[in-house]
């Protein structure tokens, strides 16, 4: 049964971050980060190592106290979230060897118990243990001790622990670091199932472009302590100046140029040189090109778009 609070909650921003700043000693790690997420959205925080991704996510998780800025997570300040707020969030931690003596099913059932008092009319907590094992594909390993799991299985258990309380908002920090391609694909499947079935809002950090493109509705590129670009993979690629790369050869020489309007550029090319243009290739900028250009720009303060690619 729907009540008015649930409806209102569905409309508000799950995440609202305004001018978030973080300083360690004399080092500014975050120099003003602002973004918001609506319910059910999957956001990827993408950036090179040391860009402040983990700092940002830890502040939102309530594990780190910010230096300045306004942060609202599920309508509360994570620095003073409280246990009821905690029950509505899920955190997928980078595992190491915790709970190694526990059996998989035993651990999930135990951790789920803490969420039972936080059931609402619309959300049944915790997630049924057997159903959860099925969802993350660990049914066959239910009785195994945690330490005997493979890396990929262990990661799926981490996800299961993160979602056992049916969180409205899930944090994933570098979820697939150190994964082989198969484990990565399995993990992506789990995330897709989660967003399709549960309408969970997800904030994930990654330095893997492919992952961001696959999972996220919106990508936030974090570089130099601030968000330098935001949008869907497609929007980001389009937003880049010099977005297409045109290659051709003429009289045995090879040329590469970047063009804002590739069609007009090629038309002009043929008008000038006609049939001597050979081996023509037109390539739209990939997300990777966009990303590299933006990060370089943020780190060195020098715009170096594709226009600089020499022949």
């Amino acid at each position: 049964m729907l009540n008015i609070n649930d409806i209102l909650r569905g409309m508000e921003d799950v995440l609202d971050v305004r001018d978030l700043r973080m300083r360690y000693g004399h080092t500014d790690v975050l120099t003003g980060v602002s973004f918001a997420a609506r319910r059910g959205e999957v956001l990827a925080l993408l950036g090179p190592n040391g860009a402040g991704k983990t700092t940002t996510i830890e502040i939102l998780e309530g594990f780190r106290v910010r230096s300045a800025g306004e942060v609202s997570v599920l309508g509360a300040d994570p620095a003073h979230g409280g246990e009821a707020w905690r029950a509505r969030t899920g955190v997928v931690l980078q595992s190491w060897r915790d709970h190694s003596k526990w059996q998989v099913r035993e651990l999930l059932a135990h951790l789920g118990r803490y969420y039972a008092p936080y059931c609402t009319a619309s959300v049944t907590r915790p997630w049924d243990t057997d159903d959860l094992l099925e969802t993350v594909g660990l049914t066959a390993h239910a009785r195994q001790r945690v330490r005997s799991l493979s890396g990929g299985q262990r990661r799926r258990l981490d996800v299961a622990i993160g979602i056992v309380g049916r969180p409205e908002l899930l944090f994933l920090d570098e979820p697939t670091a150190g994964f082989d391609p198969e484990a990565r694909r399995d993990f992506h499947d789990v995330v897709h199932r989660l967003t399709d079935r549960e309408k969970t809002t997800i904030l994930l950090t990654t330095h893997d472009l492919d992952e961001a493109e696959r999972l996220a509705d919106r990508i936030l590129i974090l570089a130099g302590g601030t968000i330098v670009a935001a949008g869907s993979a497609d929007e980001l690629a389009r937003a880049m100046p010099g977005q297409s790369e045109v290659r051709w050869s003429r009289d045995g020489r090879r040329f590469v140029r970047a063009a804002d309007d590739a069609t007009a550029f090629v038309r002009e090319l043929f008008r000038q040189y006609g049939e001597s243009v050979e081996e023509l290739e037109v390539r739209r900028a990939s997300l990777e090109d966009t990303y590299m250009a933006l990060v370089r720009q943020a780190e060195h303060g020098v715009p170096r778009g594709l226009t600089d690619v020499a022949a």
Binding site: T54, E58, F63, R86, L93, Q94, H110, L111, R113
Partner: protein, 283 residues
């Protein structure tokens, strides 16, 4: 349903599960049996030696005193060590990430370690009744004394262990400290030899810490009353035992939440990751 109550119940079952794991994990079980066996060997060695000034077996006195030392060893060292280890391996951070998880985590530790102490005390006593003579365990009053010393001992040592465990940065730095702390205190607390034979300075130092009073409490519970003559003041000093252990319990219970909260607040994924990298570099 009160969330804290639910977490407390989950914590109790967490403790039961962890204790069961301790008993079924060969490494852990061997650790407990090795320590108990080591003490038993020392007692058997001194079985026919007399406590100075009496015709009573030093081995039997040691057996009873070691019950007290067990409480301190598990209550402080095992508790502290588990906190350090589980902070390093990320268990604590997981507890922090779930609602009331820290409450459940700590209660689980208390139950698990209490179980280990009861186990160690039980096998020591069981071996004692077969191998040693002179234990005064016939009357229910004796068991009652044993019970209150045990419970008060847990209250005096577990919070202390939690405080110390929160203060150490890593397992590596903690290891030698535990050995020095416990070994040093055991030596000056009248566990292996009557404290009245030590220099006055050491006697007073020993009496400032709970280990001495835990040993004394156990002796007052399980030795014949005539043996009180070799103690300080020729008395079991049960009232003082109750007072000192209570004072340590109050101090620990006041201090532990503050220190634990401070430690927990500092835990985050990047801290755990940094410690993991440090540990992996070492190996």
């Amino acid at each position: 349903m009160n969330p804290a109550l639910v977490a407390a119940r989950a914590g109790l079952s967490r403790g039961r599960i962890e204790f069961k794991q301790t008993l079924t994990t060969p490494g852990d079980l061997i650790g407990i049996l090795f320590m108990t066996g080591g003490f038993l060997a020392a007692m058997i060695w001194t079985r026919h030696t007399h406590v100075p000034g009496t015709r009573f077996s030093l081995g039997t006195t040691m057996l009873v005193s070691v019950l007290g030392l067990n409480i301190a060893a598990y209550g402080v060292v095992t508790m502290g060590d588990l906190l350090v280890v589980e902070r390093e391996d990320g268990t604590l951070l997981r507890a922090k990430a779930i609602p009331n998880g820290m409450l459940g985590y700590l209660l689980g530790k208390v139950v698990n370690i209490s179980g280990q102490i009861a186990f160690a005390v039980a096998i020591t006593l069981l071996a004692g009744t077969f191998l040693f003579t002179g234990l005064a365990i016939a009357s229910p009053g004796r068991w009652l004394t044993l019970a209150w010393v045990l419970v008060l001992g847990l209250l005096a040592t577990l919070p202390l262990g939690a405080v110390l465990g929160s203060l150490f940065p890593s397992q590596r730095s903690a290891g030698p400290v535990w050995i020095l702390l416990l070994g040093g205190l055991a030596a000056i607390s009248g566990i292996f030899y009557p404290i009245t034979h030590l220099p006055a300075v050491l006697q007073w130092t020993g009496q400032a810490f709970p280990v001495y009073w835990l040993g004394l409490g156990m002796r007052s519970a399980l030795l014949p009353n005539a043996m009180a003559t070799v103690e300080v003041g020729r008395s079991w000093r049960q009232l003082a035992t109750f007072g000192v252990l209570s004072a340590w319990a109050v101090a620990g219970l006041v201090l532990a939440p503050v220190v634990l909260r401070r430690m927990a607040r500092r835990e985050s994924g990047s801290n755990v990751a940094a410690r993991r990298e440090k540990a992996l570099r070492r190996t």
